[in-house]
Symmetry: C2
């Protein structure tokens, strides 16, 4: 299969590497606005060549869009404007509602499959891409009924070949759940980092004492602004809803601690422990 990947960062790069490693892609052509990333992607063997969008789309059977979510809708429309009935377009973004609305009435909408592979790290750029990242993860496919049956089947087969499990959701539902279980975690980590860096002027102390659980809790604070600001603004209302609830519950905890109310603290922690039932590891 000839594949074009638009956006050669962590996700696009990992997807290209995985398709090559599994022998699914015969050639991978990249589209990348950043010339350093483009050169690096060729050097790292992520893509065979880098081309302008129009040429890359013309040559590909599958076109995967892996740019920041604020740019996905316009790239998706430009690609759909150029595809034929034999081509398939997917995106790999972390929000879906805006995209699905923007392309909803496009005459080639049925050639598009909206997907979100549930994987990422705090690192970015082609140098962060790895070939086996998607295996064992879930991929969400949104608004499946708007895509051609044969296109969905081929995309599902491809993700399954990468070792992924397929979930199906409407776009609204996806963005709501993603706010709860992914987007809010990034915000709590970013703010944990700014708080500790603000309060803790002795960086040495952070480093030395960081065995106490800080490392994993703050890990996502290393994540890239270019990726995450568009996600936060696109999923603003869901995220604000969770964020307000989070701040409210933090204040309840704070007040319980202020008045030494160990009964209330125990009640909060015991409820929090229920996450054990959800996350078994």
């Amino acid at each position: 299969m000839r594949v074009a990947v638009i956006g050669l960062g962590l996700i696009g790069g990992s997807f290209a590497l995985a398709l090559k490693a599994k022998g699914i892609a015969t050639t991978v052509v990249g589209v990348e606005a950043n010339p350093q990333h483009a050169a690096m992607a060729i050097e790292l063997g992520i893509v065979d060549s880098v081309m302008p969008l129009q040429e890359a789309v013309a040559e590909a059977e599958l076109i995967a869009i892996a740019v920041p979510v604020d740019v996905i809708p316009q790239v998706a429309i430009k690609v759909l404007n150029r595809v034929t009935e034999s081509q398939i377009v997917i995106d790999m973004g972390s929000t879906k509602e805006e995209l699905c609305e923007m392309i909803s009435l496009h005459p080639m909408r049925h050639r598009f499959v909206a997907t979100h592979p549930m994987w990422g790290t705090e690192f970015s750029g082609p140098q962060a891409a790895t070939a086996d990242s998607f295996a064992g993860r879930n991929v969400v496919i949104c608004e499946k009924s708007r895509s051609a049956v044969e296109a969905v089947e081929r995309v599902e087969a491809l993700y399954r070949a990468l070792g992924m499990d397929i979930l199906e959701m409407e776009a609204e539902q996806h963005d709501l759940h993603a706010a709860y279980v992914s987007h809010i975690s990034h915000i709590t980590s970013f703010i944990l980092s700014t708080t500790v860096l603000e309060k803790e002027r002795e960086e040495e102390a952070i480093f030395n004492l960081a065995g106490g659980g800080f490392d994993s809790t703050v890990r996502l604070a290393k994540s890239n602004a270019d990726t995450w600001i568009p996600i936060f603004t696109q999923n603003k209302y869901n995220i604000l809803d969770v964020l307000r609830e989070y701040i409210h519950q933090l204040n309840l905890f704070r007040k319980a601690l202020e008045r030494d109310d160990t009964v209330a603290l125990r009640e909060i922690i015991t409820r929090a422990n229920d996450i054990r039932k959800v996350l078994q590891e």
Copy 2:
């Protein structure tokens, strides 16, 4: 060396196993109020026997106290009331100020070395103990000048033999830093868990979408109330200070998102990214 470990949970159990694995302890006697934990500790080979405190102390060269931090001061005093000039007592708790004050004028204070091995997991009880957990971690020794030089030397040699690096701090300084880099992380995780469990009634969705960074950020929410409530209340003022700053900064983020102020969001995220310099992994 004959060692007594008081409190056979995650930390005490791991310490006992490590001392045995390294051949440092010839015998390890346990003191444990929970009869199920006591039986389990014997069954798992963590201790050779379980005895009442008085007998365990009488037989040991080193007595390690690994009970919840609210109980450490009274156990420390009971142990110090019984030790001779040839015995050494350590604690392994996550707070130090209260303890160091409580034992400060005890005539056997110099036989006590206040330590905090910077390691833990979200699991608890003897079944969570592992032999190689301390290796590569830091251990903080507080108020070193209040302990006999020879006692400190032996304790440091022992921790070094377990592969740990030694840090030195005053008790106040320790509790302040621990609030920043360990205690606050547990609170942000507990509240992330209660928030998501409150808002997200579909547990299936949490589980399915949890590849997006939620898992690591919420991991500490599995931690035990019996361990953490005493830490929070003992280190209340430092923790409240960090918690108020954290809530303040979350509100700044929320307001920036409410008004689509991407300049402010970028400024926050870029500052948060500075944690990369501190945590290299």
